[in-house]
Symmetry: D2
């Protein structure tokens, strides 16, 4: 509980930023899936630090090792354990954290909850924890691609107040990865990169919005009434560090429409497939996928750890100031793109197996 996610396609992550390593156990993956380990590593490379001038310069190779569950490139149906060793820890970068709680970070609440906390690097609250999610998400992606040709693509929709124009029906992962900010609107991407660099040089940070589309989703995923597909997607992405908001389809803006404007008219169909004239539903109706593209948006706050001096307290409750000296991301969004994709793939994979479980007996 807490470090596990999913029901049938279920992951359990472990690991702090200090200690021997981080990783994941994936339970419930169907047997006989041809697994491409390079594709798993490629996803980890998209999330690793040090990949560009707008991420933290920490160098972490994040080389994944698969310990179990795979033989000759095929899944066995047994738990798949994957581990990435910790390196380059430089605990002195975090030294001040030991005496001053970082504002809006997890230091103080972990201490309040557990009466103890990892001395360096954020412990479980470190972005390093997401390595396990991303590795398992890469397996979920392969399963969904094989079974339904499902395609999950996320991108940076907005940085600070700079908003991109992106066509969710055609955008590709190649276009997303064509620049270091992972925004497929090339012109806006350049402006975003400049903005992140400028804010970073100020010792400050910024946030933004990531959008994600699922094309060719399986139909019928999602369970009434609590495990609606959008509810599980919301939980999945809101469990990522630094998230503050979630939308599906029309989202908050949809509340400004009337029902007659917002409803998605069904179109006639010969093949039994549901199709709608608009997609304010974001591909999910009554908590169940209808086959139209699933579209979500996630708000990420500005990174909490900044070099600018801030007011805070130490662990005795006394006033102090803090100016972080570590090598921190001025903006988490470029590295969060593969995290969002991973969580979406994990939710879909889990619901696909749940749907198989209940509804494929006859």
């Amino acid at each position: 509980m807490g470090s596990s996610f999913g029901t049938l396609f279920r992951i359990s992550t472990f690991g702090e930023s200090h200690g021997g390593g981080v990783g994941v156990i994936l339970e419930g993956c169907p047997p006989r899936l041809e697994l491409d380990p390079l594709a798993i590593q490629a996803e980890l490379d998209r999330r690793r630090p040090g990949q560009s001038k707008i991420t933290t310069p920490r160098k972490e190779a994040d080389q994944v090792e698969i310990l179990s569950g795979v033989m000759d490139g095929l899944t066995l149906g047994t738990p798949i354990a994957m581990v990435v060793r910790n390196k380059d820890q430089r605990p002195q970068d975090y030294k001040e954290v030991e005496v001053a709680f970082r504002p809006s970070h997890a230091d103080a609440t972990y201490q309040a909850k557990y009466g103890i906390q990892a001395r360096s690097g954020g412990g479980r609250a470190s972005a390093r924890e997401t390595i396990g999610r991303v590795a398992a998400g890469a397996i979920a992606r392969q399963m969904l691609q094989r079974s339904h040709g499902t395609d999950v693509v996320a991108w940076v929709k907005r940085i600070h107040d700079l908003e991109a124009q992106v066509d969710a029906s055609t955008v590709t992962r190649e276009a997303v990865d064509a620049n270091i900010v992972r925004c497929p609107d090339a012109e806006m991407a350049d402006r975003m990169i400049d903005r992140i660099e400028a804010i970073g040089q100020d010792g400050d940070s910024c946030g933004g919005v990531i959008e994600c589309v699922v094309r060719r989703p399986p139909v019928g995923l999602g369970m009434p009434v609590f495990d609606k597909l959008e509810a599980d997607l919301a939980k999945a992405v809101m469990s990522l560090p630094a998230t503050k908001g979630f939308e599906i389809g029309s989202g908050f803006a949809g509340t400004l429409l009337r029902g007659s404007e917002h409803n998605d008219a069904f179109l006639p169909s010969d093949d039994g497939r549901l199709r709608t004239a608009s997609n304010n539903s974001g591909g999910i109706q009554g908590g169940i996928s209808n086959g139209e593209p699933i579209v979500i948006r996630v708000a990420f706050k500005p990174t909490a750890t900044i070099r600018k001096e801030q007011q805070t307290i130490n662990d005795r409750g006394e006033a102090t100031t803090l100016a972080a000296k570590g090598r921190h991301d001025p903006c988490v969004l470029p590295r969060a793109v593969p995290m969002v994709e991973a969580m979406v793939n994990l939710v879909l994979a889990d619901h696909l197996l749940r749907q198989q479980g209940q509804c494929s007996l006859w």
Copy 2:
């Protein structure tokens, strides 16, 4: 799975809009809680249809019966089953649904998923399902009030484009219930009521935003890394019918701030209690409650079922039109206020017991 929610304080709801009744089993409630059954009924009265001129005129008394788990007004620690009988079904109101899928409703996706669907009233997708949640939420509220004096208050923040000004630090449930739209900004409430009536007379519908605050929450609730408190709150409210978005604290607007503006500075404290100068975090940091008020917002789309004629298809995929004849809410928000409170209370109660489970042994 699917119809259950929570881990230690766990509910399972049942029931369609047709059939014998709807209800809930609550497992895991601590023993020896003095239970006020009138407070449970009072919450159900806040969500029932027919309570005012801006809700559906369907009359449903929604009288709850407690079948188990309570003796002499005290909980036994065993499952508490509560049931509300169905009445006043008038299936003819839903007759057209049998041949025409309602746009943006759950008819078509239930049929696609299960190959069968309840013939009338939305089945599990009916708002009637929320009776069980609201009844169990009323017990969670009593538990939290007794153990920590926790106070959960939700209200209508916006209807269509009419936005209220409400002070989350002082607003009371009495102020919320002072008018039929459940907006504690009295002047704006009048305008909201007019708007809902006008749109309803058009045969149309509208949506809006509900805000909810938790004052005096227990400190230390929430589990790294997937069961962060905000992640479970997001799932909880996004599992309510008609929801399209979720925010915690600064939400989407917070993405326009810099880190130095967004971070909540810790204030010196004598008593070990964490306090922050601002509350962009919305009371949760690193997924764990810090004791400051928890503030969330939820977007509700305009009601899908409207009297205006719409384009749709029948169950053979052929084009047809639909103009709903039933007695439907032109706006779900006034009745959704107790639903949001219930889900928030349920999440807090569950996390409180989980915190007790792991962290109270020594």
Copy 3:
């Protein structure tokens, strides 16, 4: 937790011997199963008190009402709630229990755990709780019969030291129900009935062993490593009141054999179906069903509540004596036969859906 069982085919029971009623919610039943409500009631009739001279003379009709999840005789895929109203409570029969803890009953431990207990009839520890299990088990049976023609039959194998000879490969439920003790060895059944009557007239009680066979089980059920099929069967039947032991296949006697005697040789097969020359494995190898009949045995202790005077204590820890005055079963086994079948059917149904979930995608 605690009152729920299963993962995908999941039941939650509720209800005490006092209060409004007892029942169950069954989640996860596949849609479009033709449900025979008379078969559900028939199973309840097999477990109800007052059915013969060797059971408690309490008369309880135990009429089940299906509240949800079914329409026109077909399951909807949504939760199926079933309730049986409590009647004929006669709390005075249990009056002495209020002041004297019944030896080997649950009175004292419930009080120790919860600091409160149901004042009459055993609360959740009452055999009445099993009504929900039996009702849900009857649905599991119908699902398994339709999908695989699976046949689950249990019978009384031994009462006190009277052991029957029964051929597990051919015994029928009709033969089991041909006498009131539910032992298909007719001659031994007569002796068992006499024994139970004699012991009951002494104000005493006796136990015995129930055996259960599953013929035509689905192949491949059971999950490495904790949810082995025999492990879940063990938990399922050991959760029934009064059980003290569990065996699969050769059981404790098998420990007296050598490996070369105990191993089940595989037989050549044209059709890919596994067949073994012997069945010491009891139909399960490595935790997974191999298609041979599954055979288990369950030990039931003598009923704890007896009319004979016993030494005990009251709730202040003081010595007292107790001679129960209620109408109690001198032997639980005849009524426990449908309970064992129900639990076995529930385990198989759950594992069948889990197998579908993981292994039917390609």
Copy 4:
């Protein structure tokens, strides 16, 4: 699911006999437990192969590495991951398994379930999987010792037909470990060792019974009605490889007693602690621990893999013979003693946290 066990104190194991390694993630361990890593390694040394002349001569050091969840010898409250690298695999020993299914082993059923199986050494069905359980069980033991001084001791009660006399109220782990068969009855231990050696030299194998006592258990553990403490103990030990039966307290033999003989009379008590004159209940009444010693017994079948030639089939269903050439245990019981202790400690730890969760709020 399947490879996870427990609710709040929850383990997930991974790893096959081939591949990089085996291990476990333990979620939910309370924070600030002083962890003795040597005690963990010591438990693994008790279960490792090659420890004596009556176990397989395979040499596996089974050195455990703790990857996460611990800092400066204290638990953090976060997942504790532990891994043991695989070594000395010698796949040629298992070569014949590729073409001939071992009778009464898991080869054939894994193939039937998954359509694929680990080519060597049993995959997940290997006893090597239990490394993770034993490592996590060693942490559960430390938690229970600290919080309640609870003492869990298991021993070999019977080998083949050689039964030891052991006083469960006084037996120590030192006495158990005083000889290589782990039977604290020294004279009988010698005979057991001779028997195992003789049967092993025949190329055959034998089974037996392990008994386990819990002294000073926490009172009030166990949940009505499905998660009774004995039900979870039954599942826990029946999930170990080669188990065929389970008993609690009087077990199968208790079914030969009358209620007046079997019932455990309560003794007067000044301190509120429950005490009984006898302990046929085995320390659990109504599914809840009463504080008396918990006593269980587990039947282990003779090892399936033997050197004697056996009839079997290959993966095309054709008749063949098999005489295993590997280095196999002629009897699993000496190495299974720490496995049984581990599972019992895990069940108690989980139920202790569940009890804290529900019943420690006021």
